[in-house]
Amino acid sequence: MSAEILRMESLQITAQPEHGGPGKAIVEDVDLVLHPGEVLGLIGESGAGKSTIGLAALGYTRPGCQITGGRVLFEGMNLRDASAEARRRLRGRHIAYIAQSAAAAFNPAKTLYAQICEGPIRHGVMAREQARAEAIQLFRELDLPSPESFGNRYPHQVSGGQLQRAMAAMAMSCHPDILVLDEPTTALDVTTQIEVLAAIRKLIREHHTAGLYITHDLAVVAQVANRIMVLRHGRKVEEGEADQILLRPQEDYTRALVSIRQAKVTRPAASAVESVPLLQLKAVKASYAKLAHVVDGIDLSVRKGETVAVVGESGSGKSSLARVITGLLPRESGEILFHGQSLEPALARRSRDLLRRIQMIYQMPDVALNPRQRVQEIIGRPLAFYQGMDGAKRKDRVRELLQAIDLPPEFAQRFPGELSGGQKQRVCIARALAAEPDLLICDEVTSALDPLVAEGILELLGRLQRDLGYAYIFITHDIGTVRRIADRVAVMLEGRIVAEGSLGKVFAPPYHPYTQLLLSSVPEMRTDWLDGVLAERGQVKEPVSTAPG
């Protein structure tokens, strides 16, 4: 490789609290070198400082943060000393940024052309006509549909995956030397992720652009990056060639990241599962505002002590199914039996005891806990409400429940804002346990959490099931999780179940074509996975989905 294009030397970035006081270091003593055409993956959990480093490559820090030490050199120029004008000329022109949420990064009131051509025109790199021709060329390279007219659309008129690719086109419009990619595929479904990942990789390789690829998913970054840097708490843990990190990690933390998703969660013995179904759905249909059925003729049964995973991509109706079972979205036809008795369609008509028996755990623990209530009150309320517990008895029970979710008893006095993401999710679980339910519906409970934290939550759920014999309906898009925890799987597509049965049956040949698409789209921990999948799929694109692009 030739001379380096970007260099960071003992970079230190500090967050300044608003009301004075000492600053908190977010990034400490990080060195980084990037050569032309090389992609460096930055890996770490939330709070590791990876996005902060990515932004620092543009000479930018988030409000309240400051580069307090070290240097950021772009082709020998220190961005820390550079004038605001010099940095402005650099951004977009030489160093470009791709954000995680394309939907939030595009202006909904302007066409894609207007936004993609803005950079080259403002920087004086190209005239309007040329920028337009360039954009069309980029759309073609990114495999976007009808590239000539694609740019005339508004952001809401294209799908999430297309918008993310449009953002790649926007970033590439000035042919920058460095591309900073901040979790560009994290918000996408696995099948869409593959398309975007392949498109971005092709683009970077063809234009010989250097890249900083920021993500928490090691398997994803392994497909794109030449080298990988592992970060934790703002410090570098390990850096090396992609293969070396995956196959021969040196540090314990990296090893934990690599080995994750491989161990199977200990499951209750098959004998613990009763043969009588606890919950039975028969040809259940439901819709919002009497439009198309979002839940369309679902048959499903769950037995005590069993975990049934409902898998599907966003919009497949899996969360709506949970709402139908809980009664938030009353079913329009079909039958739901619970303990052999018909369940009232609407929530308001169900008895308190029935409500107690079906509990729900949500995806985002941040909004599932009332920020103005202490943990004591959050967990204690179901105890008071269903069991009429009060005073010392309730306090004791809350302490027991905190113990069951591996949190110390002092946490009872904390507010949700004083807990980490994983701790919040544990409190949500404890609140559900407090009701002493028969059935727990877990709606994407681990997808908002860092891998190691999610691991802990899965272990906890597994242990609780072994000890207390709950039945779980586990709604998720993450096949890796399903493989590890489920007894049975139901694959949903457009409101219907397309494949259902035991884990071994559904996830083994002969596959339903959609199951196969889902399975093959899950990134694996080896650097040649994406090449293999793309080669296997050949020319075939979107073989199953009938949804409009």
Partner: protein, 275 residues
């Protein structure tokens, strides 16, 4: 210096000082006022003197004493009005936000209809039909004012009602009243407190204008708006008598607004941190 754990600006400090001084005057008026509010103690519109610091009014009553007693009636009635309007507005607004469907429809359209008529006109009509006793005054203005509170509570409540923790409470089988009180209200407090301060000022100015028109608080009870009207004629003779109660109205309005501004600033700041 900090209040509720937040740094306080000079403006907010001045605001708090003004508000507390007014509250002090209102509560201890009978103790600190040199004369009774209805006592005739000297010449009409006598100039300020050592005995009468702010002079005398249109009937020869002590201006300072009436100002202190006026603080009592004006502030307490404005406070009652604001509290009543908030109780009505919060309950209906949150109910509309949480339940939605036809309840929201009916309440919102009713409020739209009420807001279409200028408040002062509605108040004048109701007060001239029902009479101008203090309870009628309070109920009328509170009801008219609650439309604004309803709109705010509905808007704030809608954002909170979609949170998963509200859904959790519904799934648990909690009543509407509980959800309103324990899940939604605590999270809506910052904007509501701010609005409370603003609405208090409006209520206060509204009584002043009603009093000025003769439909507000009736004599001999002193109130600041009425005092401006009673002494308005003094302007013709170069007297400063009407300016004194007018200044009292102004200072309290400014004081409350300074406090409200501070609440607004800390509220927007915490939102920024969350983003």
């Amino acid at each position: 210096m900090r209040i509720f754990g937040y740094r306080i600006s000079v403006g907010a400090l001045a605001g708090f000082a003004i508000v507390f001084a007014n509250l002090f005057a209102a509560i201890f008026a009978p103790v600190i006022a040199p004369y009774g509010q209805a006592d005739l103690v000297g010449d009409v519109w006598a100039a300020p003197s050592a005995q009468h610091w702010l002079g005398l009014d249109s009937l020869g009553r002590d201006m300072l004493s009436r100002l202190l007693f006026g603080a009592r009636t004006t502030i307490s009635i404005a406070l009652l009005i604001t509290i009543c309007s908030f109780v009505i507005g919060i309950v209906t607004g949150f109910a509309a936000a949480i339940v939605g469907s036809w309840i929201d429809m009916v309440l919102s359209r009713f409020v739209d209809a009420l807001m279409a008529i200028p408040t002062l006109i509605s108040a004048l009509v109701i007060l001239s039909v029902m009479g101008t006793s203090v309870p009628v005054l309070i109920c009328t203005i509170a009801a008219l004012d609650s439309t604004r509170v309803f709109r705010l509570c509905r808007a704030v409540g809608l954002n909170i009602a979609v949170m998963d923790y509200v859904e959790v409470a519904r799934l648990r089988g909690e009543t509407l009243w509980w959800i309103m009180r324990r899940e939604v209200l605590p999270n809506a407090l910052p904007p509501l407190i701010t609005e409370f301060g603003l609405r208090f000022c409006f209520a206060f100015l509204f009584i002043a204008s009603l009093s000025f028109l003769g439909l507000g608080i009736q004599p001999p009870l002193a109130d600041w708006g009425g005092m401006v009207r009673d002494n308005a004629q003094a302007i013709n003779f170069g007297g400063m008598a009407p300016l004194i109660p007018a200044a009292a109205i102004a200072q309290l309005t400014i004081g409350v607004n300074l406090v409200v501004d501070w609440f607004l600033s800390i509220h927007s700041r915490t939102h920024g941190e969350g983003a």
